[in-house]
Amino acid sequence: MKRVLALAMIAAVVAAACGAAAPSGGASASPAQVKLNDGKLVIGVINDQSLVYADLSGKNAVEAVKMAVEDFKAKYGDNALGAPIEVITADHQNKPDLASSKAQEFYERNNADIILDVPTSSAALAIAKVANDEKKLYINITAATTDLTGVSCNKYTFHYAYDTYMLAAGTGKWVTENLGKQWYIIYPNYAFGQDMEKSFRGAVTKFGGTVIQSDGSPFPNTSGDFSQLLVKAGQLKPQILGVMQAGGDLVNVVKQYNQFKLGDQGIKLAIGLLFDTDITAIGQDQMAGVVYTTPWVWSMDDQSKQFADKFLKRTGIRPTFAHAGNYSAAWQYMEAIRRAGTDDADAVVKQLEGYKFSDFFIRNGNIRAEDHWVMHDALLAQVKPASEAKEKFDYSKVLGTIPAETASRPLADAGCKK
């Protein structure tokens, strides 16, 4: 028994070393001693495939996970985990009750070993509870709520790509130091927006700025109109208009910001959460110059471009950070199984906790054992004008890196009691 353990540990070290490299290596390493519980590994992806987040992650995130599985086999051989690997998926339509029941089905009936992705905070939190009840793994990638690693944290839940704290720490700091100190913040009046407002207010104040005022917009905003807040912005004349709206609301705000020509009056735009899909909807030139925080940009370096090329060939689009995050999380999970020598959830959790790694998506990664927040460097990016773009999806350039320590909420503030 001891010998097997030692062997497994050696294999784990080797695997870890390989894992640090780009996940596209060709030669298959010697099969590790992996024993899966029920004869196969099942990875479940639950996300929105038909509504607001369908383009951000959606079915192409499932493709990303499948790519990760294929590449993993290409690297370690078909027998990488000593058993077949299956990817299953469901569309939760952003309904928390459907998400929760699908998660139970996946864990109980399909013997899913892990669930990935899950946008929409309420659905994300609902599945965290299911994972804890079922004692199975869950890595969230696309939801923004810090509650996943805060009041709702548990032993089996990990939060991978980004959260509201990261967004504020990046954009709030840089904009205050470089563009202007006087902010007027507008936010959608629901949990996400309030979270963002609080985080940004904290960051702006911390780095020497002031928030003159902040106002909530109705949620859901049935009329799609934000003019009263924008007119107010024109009256207050702040240096920075901090916009915390997301998705369709964000598109409406920016369209109307341009209509009111607030930019010409010297009121600069800072956006809390910006996806590539939003830039498509508003138009690249309309957004040019806007600075935002993101975990990843596909054109940031050669490693990422390599992934983006492969992804483009497969899906016809360039990957969003959500797609890359799903790939990376699936990959790191499988690596952890090789290190653990089993897919037993408790053993894999042990392997993940405190693990330090880097791959094309995560740089200077460290899975914080206390709250399961995956610490890593975030990027400060800027939308460039279409004239500078090399291709259709070439939206942004990287201005700088926000170190993992700065981008992560301090443990003391998390309030996580596992």
Binding site: S50, F260, G283
Partner: protein, 291 residues
């Protein structure tokens, strides 16, 4: 909070009201003549915006021609829907057509999502209207003023058609005294398709007007439709003047209410609706219950 600021918000309210008015006008004449509460009205608004987007994208046809072409195109689609689906359910409980149009809304939204994605598409403001004008102390986008003026124009024109033409006479008669109109030997059914097409066209027109200032996306009308219901109910379900007046009124009230507390904009509309229904069940301008 000075007077200039409040008056600018008044204009913002009128812009919102312009959209409500066009949408609820279409909804009201469809309900008046067909007794159909068109749940797909929000989806039609979305189709109008997409039609404008497609005209620009595929054929390079700009905003001004689109203002005419898009509503006509969508109205033609409306004729097909009326002939194929709604026609079979006249004379039955309005509930059935309510459900059919609900299904239609789901269908249309999802079909557009499959084709264009969920994120929305860009649409530029027409160059002629991209300037701003000074409105007291605040510079105000010309396009918004155009939306108010144009919508008012369309509403007045609709009023003229309804008051002065034969089509309008039938619409009025059918809206207010349906059984009597039939009894007088007027073939209401012949006009039904035309009326439905016009109602649909008005919603599509609102969609084209929205394209330069709102996100052009498959779900852009899905929440708006509930608000429009409230507007029509407040105005009086079958009342044409009521629909338009209530549209502008609610746009303005909600915007002014938002000056005090933006978060309660939604509650104001539905609270108002409840009060009106209880005090004046037929709506502010309705003459009697028509359901």
């Amino acid at each position: 909070m000075d007077l200039g600021y409040v008056s600018v918000q008044l204009f913002n309210g009128l812009v919102n009201g312009a959209f409500y008015a066009l949408l609820s006008l279409g909804l009201a004449i469809i309900f008046g003549v067909l007794r159909v509460v068109n749940f797909a009205h929000g989806a039609v608004y979305m189709l109008g915006a997409f039609a404008a987007y497609l005209l620009l994208q595929q054929f390079g046809i700009g905003f001004w021609p689109a203002l005419v072409l898009a509503p006509i195109g969508v109205a033609l689609l409306g004729i097909v829907v009326e002939r194929l689906l709604l026609r079979r359910l006249y004379g039955l409980d309005p509930l059935y057509n309510f459900l059919v149009t609900f299904g239609l809304a789901l269908f249309l939204q999802d079909a557009m999502r499959l084709r264009f994605g969920i994120q929305g598409q860009p649409y530029p403001t027409p160059d002629e209207l991209s300037a701003s004008v000074l409105l007291g102390p605040v510079s105000y986008p010309l396009y918004r003023l155009f939306v108010i003026a144009f919508s008012l124009l369309v509403c007045v024109a609709s009023w003229y058609v309804i008051e002065r033409t034969r089509l309008g006479m039938v619409v009025r008669a059918a809206t207010e005294r349906a059984e009597l109109t039939r009894a007088l030997g007027i073939d209401v059914d012949r006009w039904v398709t035309a009326v439905f097409a016009i109602g649909i066209g008005l919603a599509a027109l609102a969609g084209v007007l929205a394209a330069p200032m709102r996100n052009v996306a498959p779900l852009m009308g899905s929440e708006l439709i509930i608000l429009t219901f409230a507007v029509v109910v407040i105005g009086g379900l079958g009342s044409i003047v009521g629909a338009v007046t209530a549209g502008f009124l609610i746009g303005v009230l909600a915007s002014l209410g938002a000056v005090f507390n933006p978060a309660f904009e939604n509650v104001i509309v539905f609270a108002l609706m409840a009060v009106v229904l209880l005090l004046r069940p037929a709506g502010l301008f309705g003459s009697r219950e028509a359901a």
